[in-house]
Symmetry: C2
Subunit: 230 residues, 2 copies
């Protein structure tokens, strides 16, 4: 089944790309530049497409980021919080309607490609704060797309991690031989992962919960244990 | 009710902007540049925002247009057909998933604005060819957005023309005093409307069906009568 994958270059979506490449037919990776502070993640998405030998589309949504005028930390309005992904610190990292925007664009490209599926790495670990990562969203999105493309295309929304945790994704990545050291999670975009921001803490916790070695180099490799009360 | 309006600068969406400005609270016009052949329409959208004294956001989606690589006449792949909006000639003017893409971005901006509604000028005259102009799409889109923004925002999709024809929109525009001569429909983007392309024919037919004078200057003002068998 020809499938396009939305990939940020982060751990979740790079594992997804490797899963699709091995189990389906990966035809394109799509990344989005929405004015996030650093573009480091995106270079890992491009690298993933090159490694898997598929087309890469970088969609420039910086004018959307500008229109959102400081509504989110990821687009420059506020400082990125340190610490565990607690509800309050995560709330400000939400770009309003991000997944719906990414998915509708990916569906448009999938129609042009003649693809049968769009894959996204939304997962259970994000359910408690991001409504657009929940099963109810995924189901209603697929229903909406069936109506929007009626008579033109019938494209599945493939969400294999929807009911899993980030630790499950690490376990799946180990099974698939995905190169974790060629993925990027840190919100701060330094030379190496900071180890302190919400995504760095979540990443380290996921490897620990999966019982897997974490090949990532962190500036502060011990902070996460305090944040997670380990 | 604070409402953002998606407006191309065409007749339908300029009438919609005037309707919202008079009957609700218009706070922003949003237009999209998706690599369409000419930008003439967009200048009329900006003019409409200035006339109504509201913010204007031009969202640059040209990289989406590029990714769609010639899938549609509007983005450069094929010639624009002359004649009435018959099914075959209209099919190639479809940009895949266009309305869903525009609406998800407008919803994201509406969240940032604290708006309660997003308005779009989709109408019954487009139902037979564009699935993303039909009531089933509008309903499923609103349902999807409620899931995507659960706990963050509850934003209505306002579609006052959904069950009407383009002639009904002309009638409504007359009632509202909307300046039809400051709207643009022609796909060809010349100095004045060509009179021959699908949208020019449809525009002239709508004024005739509404029994209203058409203030538009056309290069070929009689072609539409043949196309519509008048």
């Amino acid at each position: 089944m020809d499938t396009v994958v939305i990939s940020s270059g982060g751990l979740d979506s790079v594992v997804l790309a490797h899963k699709v490449a091995q189990e389906r037919r990966l035809i394109r990776l799509i990344s989005f530049d929405y004015g996030q502070r650093h573009k480091k993640e995106l270079s890992y998405a491009r690298l993933c497409a090159e490694r898997l030998g598929v087309s890469f589309s970088l969609i420039d949504l910086s004018s959307v980021g500008e229109a959102l005028h400081g509504a989110s930390a990821l687009t420059g309005g506020q400082d990125v919080p340190d610490g565990h992904y607690a509800e309050e610190t995560m709330r400000i990292t939400v770009v309003p309607n991000r997944n719906a925007i990414f998915l509708t664009i990916a569906y448009g490209i999938a129609v042009a490609d003649g693809a049968q599926a769009v894959a996204t790495a939304i997962h259970g670990g994000d359910h408690f704060i991001y409504p657009d990562c929940r099963p109810g969203f995924a189901q209603s999105f697929e229903t909406m797309q069936k109506a929007a493309l009626e008579g033109m295309a019938d494209i599945e929304l493939y969400t294999p991690f929807l009911h899993g945790t980030k630790a499950d994704i690490v376990t799946e990545g180990v099974r698939l031989g995905a190169p974790f050291d060629q993925t990027w999670s840190c919100y701060k975009g330094g030379a190496i992962h900071c180890g302190r921001c919400g995504t760095c803490v979540e990443r380290q916790e996921a490897f620990a919960l999966a019982g897997s070695d974490d090949p990532t180099a962190y500036e502060d490799p011990d902070f996460w244990k305090k944040a997670c009360h380990v």
